[in-house]
């Protein structure tokens, strides 16, 4: 199989054959298959494991085509566009691609273009593009909104979408799909090529990446199966803790594992965990091993330094978050350690793939569960990986705020005909079902804001000319649009800088989210970038800090895990928990924990939900083990407390984690009709009523308003103003719009976003229908083993946003107490 090259010798031109031979390589079957698909002019999706020469397989057809092209006396123009989800990956691939180009002496230029590329190079690239351009979805959107887009792209023959599984199921993916549709219009002969290592359902990806000819026109090419990874679980000598997310108990053993390997990547789920693990490892680091830290809040130059040291083989371990999930080739990693819950099997396969880039040798990974439920989760993930069944993102319907941005971009590039654009948009996977009515509403929104009250007709952003085509009103409007392109909305970030003497501002060490600072006062200490700092003060957009010597920093909580436990993995955890014969694979203390749970409460069947009630102190508790992830649980808990309130149970509070939720109340919670309590109709009026006031809706609205161009992130010549800043809040717009036009397009977008993202209503709905008539109630006179982890989380959480009135109340009461002293 691996020697399929021998059967298809003519696919590889002599120059290329010689290059392969010179390196002692043979072209792999999937690499040749990709050449074959290209010769036939077909689109292709390549799924091949890491280390399988996937990137080269993607580029080989273009390199061959360009090498065989007869010399011309006109500028060659752009031939191949490569899109990467990460800037760093685009730059890395540029380096790797230039090696064969130089070694074979091919007359081809390949250049990257990212937000970090210098202005003069970017300007030159638009006028005199390289044959191969390596870039990101955001840069592509920008190029598509440029007046010269048609001229730039008309020569395009191929677009390569790398790490395609990370691109498709998001607003970023919506925008990219729309830009691909545009490219197909400008360059009808362009082929689409997708590359991925981990895909659970190729059909979903095909539907997303397909062009006008539909998903059926895409050929699936699969690489050889890589060696099965070896995934071990760290069965700590100390017993597995009941609760917690840091895996502190196992850190000494993690350190030993690092010592035994050449280079280890230590993955964690949050930046907070990264900082914590980094501190703990250095506390133990008697051998002074070079251990580094890498996460998204660190300043870019710090991250680049770590990456460079890694590439040189100068590091023994890097503690990192998802920033290192994706395909940058780091040579010598031979162990991947996952600290705490893996959350999903596909993400784990991706991470494990970071170790060992050779196909025939297995990657090695070590799971370190932080608590008992995570032990079940790690085991379930191991089994899923061994059976090669993965979780994946379901297909999504394209968001209308993203479409609005795209329509504006199209108008900035050249005048468009509404019907033609509608047909083009519907060739993009996520927008295949788009109705004409919705499209009209989006165009109206782009033009005038799309309000029922038609007072803005004279202020249109795009106008319809006598030729029936829509064009942007003027150059200024176009320029402002281009400054705000992109579908990633990040929370407000503040730069962390070292405070100098006499109020001067020093070096930037990174960025943190605004919300995190709300828990710190000047003088407090916190860990950031692997060091303890003292907060000196906050100016407009800078957080001023100085190094502190404290060992016990006031550790800011950076929120729970960013990722929710996947539906797929949750199901496997439930299966493992239910199947008592299966328990023997678990360590003895976890097995014991399950057995005591069985004896003192009960273990539900796989499709049932366990609900326990018990009294403790003067409180009555209800704990549900629904395994649907923190977001869905939080929504469920909010809705349940509303209902319990109406039933007179006087609920006082709740707490949620990925596995369970607990509600406590003044009155008993065990005589209730649980089927009625959990009836699906709670997703109707109760949800609407709660959602309308919810800060999550406001946050979702803000994201949509920014993407759709209602609110601008940046103005031309925008400078950080000093002095007075009157903040203009999208919450005010939200309130006014909700009262006066509740059906407005952006409110619809916000509701859709909140339902799938922040509050996960979709998942909650599936769960409520799954457990209908299948709630197993255990009335206990004591705590159950399962309930301990969740009860231990009480008091550790803050309730964000919606607690506004309570906060005001608290401050006021303190004032009264102060006044009465």
């Amino acid at each position: 199989m691996a020697d399929a090259g021998a059967q298809l010798p003519d696919l590889l031109p002599p120059k290329f054959k010689a290059w392969f031979d010179g390196r002692g390589w043979t072209a792999r079957a999937h690499q040749l298959a990709m050449i074959e698909q290209a010769r036939a002019g077909r689109d292709a999706l390549l799924i091949a494991p890491t280390g399988g020469g996937k990137t080269l397989a993607g580029f080989l057809p273009s390199l061959i085509e360009l090498a065989e092209r007869p010399p011309a006396n006109t500028p060659a123009g752009l031939h191949t566009l490569y899109i990467s989800p990460l800037k760093a990956l685009a730059v890395d691939v540029e380096r790797n691609l230039n090696a064969p180009i130089l070694e074979m002496g091919l007359p081809i230029t390949a250049e990257s273009r990212t937000g970090d590329t210098g202005l003069s190079r970017r300007q030159r690239q638009r006028v005199k593009p390289p044959e191969i351009l390596l870039t990101t979805p955001e840069q592509l959107a920008l190029l598509c909104a440029w007046e010269g887009a048609r001229l730039l792209f008309e020569s395009l023959r191929c677009v390569i979408l790398d790490e395609i599984h990370t691109l498709h199921a998001s607003k970023r993916g919506d925008l990219l799909a729309l830009d691909l549709a545009r490219l197909s219009t400008l360059a009808p002969h362009m082929r689409r090529v997708g590359l991925s290592a981990t895909v659970d359902d190729p059909e979903v990806i095909k539907r997303w990446m397909a062009g006008p000819a539909g998903p059926g026109a895409i050929e699936l090419v699969t690489g050889p199966a890589g060696a099965q990874p070896i995934v071990d679980m760290l069965l700590s000598e100390g017993r597995v803790p009941w609760a917690g997310h840091t895996a502190q108990h196992a850190m000494a053993e993690v350190y030993e594992a690092i010592k035994r390997s050449k280079t280890a990547l230590v993955f964690v789920n949050t930046r907070f965990q990264a900082e914590f693990a980094f501190q703990e490892l250095w506390r133990l680091n008697d051998d002074a091993l070079p251990i580094a830290l890498h996460h998204g809040s660190l300043a870019a130059e710090r991250r680049r330094k770590v990456e460079a040291a890694m590439a040189r083989g100068a590091l023994r371990a890097v503690v990192c978050t998802s920033t290192l999930d994706l395909g940058i080739d780091w040579g010598d990693v031979d162990l991947v350690i996952q600290l705490a819950s893996p959350k999903g099997a596909a993400r784990m396969v991706q991470r494990i793939g970071r170790a060992n880039h050779r196909l025939d040798e297995p990657s090695r990974a070590l799971f370190v569960p932080a608590n008992r439920f995570e032990m079940l989760e790690c085991q379930a993930a191991r089994e899923a990986i061994a059976q090669n069944v993965l979780d994946g993102d379901p297909p999504r319907e394209g968001a209308l705020d993203v479409l609005a941005q795209h329509v504006m971009g199209c108008a900035c590039a050249e005048p468009f005909d509404m019907l033609e654009l509608y047909d083009e948009v519907r060739t993009a996977g996520p927008y295949r079902e788009l109705s004409w009515e919705d499209f009209e509403r989006v165009v109206d929104f782009v033009s005038t804001g799309g309000y029922a009250l038609k007072t803005y007709d004279r202020f249109r952003r795009i106008v319809r000319g006598p030729d029936g085509r829509w064009r942007v009103r003027n150059g200024e409007v176009a320029q402002r649009h281009r400054l705000n392109v992109g579908a990633i909305v990040s929370p407000a970030m503040l730069a962390v800088r070292i405070a100098g003497r006499r109020g001067s501002v020093g070096r930037k060490i990174g960025e943190i989210e605004e919300g995190m600072l709300e828990m710190l006062d000047p003088g407090d200490t916190f860990v950031f970038a692997g060091q303890v700092w003292r907060l000196m003060g906050i100016t407009n957009l800078d957080v001023l800090v100085q190094p502190a010597n404290d060992h016990d920093a006031k550790m800011p909580s950076w929120g729970g895990s960013k990722f929710a436990l996947s539906t797929f993995l949750a199901k496997r955890v439930r299966q493992l928990m239910t199947d008592q014969d299966h328990w023997r694979v678990l360590p003895s203390d976890v097995r014991e924990w399950l057995e005591v749970q069985r004896d003192r409460s009960l273990i539900p069947a796989e499709d049932e939900m366990l609900l326990e009630t018990f009294a403790r102190g003067r409180r009555h508790f209800m704990v549900c083990y629904s395994f649907e992830g923190r977001l869905a649980h939080t929504t469920l808990a909010m809705l349940l407390t509303r209902r319990l309130e109406r039933l007179g149970a006087a609920p006082l509070g709740f707490v949620c984690n990925d596995y369970a939720l607990a509600v406590w109340a003044l009155n008993p919670l065990d005589g209730l009709d649980y089927d009625a309590l959990f009836a699906e109709d709670m997703l109707g009026d109760d949800l609407e009523a709660w959602l309308a006031e919810s800060f999550m809706m406001k946050r979702a609205f803000k994201g949509c308003a920014i993407i759709a161009g209602l609110i601008e992130r940046r103005f031309p010549g925008d400078r950080q103003k000093t002095g007075r800043q009157i903040t203009f809040s999208t919450d005010l717009i939200y309130d006014v719009l909700r009262r006066h036009e509740p059906d407005h397009l952006l409110l619809r977008c916000a509701r859709a976003d909140a339902a799938t993202g922040l509050i996960d209503v979709a998942r909650l709905g599936q769960m409520l229908s799954r457990i209908r008539g299948r709630i197993r109630h255990a009335r206990l006179d004591h705590l159950s083993p399962f309930s301990v982890p969740i009860l231990l989380e009480i008091g550790k959480e803050r309730s964000p946003g919606q607690a506004g009135e309570i906060i005001l109340h608290e401050a006021e009461e303190d004032l009264i107490a102060e006044a009465l002293q």
Partner: protein, 240 residues
Amino acid sequence: MTERLPPYEFVTAPCGALRLTLAGAEAELRTSGALWLDGERALIAADLHLEKGSSYAARGQMLPPYDTRETLRRLAAEIEALRPRLVILLGDTFHDRRSEERLSRQDAAGLTALAAGRTLVWVVGNHDADGPKALPGEIAGELSIAGLTLRHEPRAGLAPGEVAGHLHPAAKVRAPRGTVRRRCFVTDSERIVLPAFGAYAGGLNVRDAAFAGLFARPPLAGALGGVRVHAVGWRFLAAD
């Protein structure tokens, strides 16, 4: 060393308003953000910024065109509830000099109706220095009632008896449970700065230097909650 100052005296009315004495006059800080002087039956609202939405739209940012309607709705609700003899708009009632031209016929009629049967006074501000052209009401630069001086922009330094707007005060309230930012009144019981009443008006943190020197002692913030005004002391207020 520091003399302990007596706490501020205030009472929360059943409607949620905060009642206190302002330079000797009885004043009610309303949940809406307006000030009510019961003795004079006078309702005072600052910084309505009518037609701010269309002002942005003219520059290509299509904010919902309902801000004027919403602001007038809230003002009408206060007038309905209090039946004032005197309604004083404390400056920056319009967002810019051409706002009045952009006012929809319906909103202009609504505003005219509010003036019927009572005296409407437009204290002019920096955004609307000329006052209205076609709308009813009297135009004034300053106004004295109940021993108080009403003007748009606060005088620098101490100014006992002054009622002003212009600064759009907002309080960032910090409590054990978290932080929340709301529009607020700010007063030392000698003078007061009103929050902006307009639906789209932003807020300036009361810890900003623009408020420095206005008060004789750390002032009290009356933060606008959903159903009542919360009296919050200076030490619970954070900078942005």
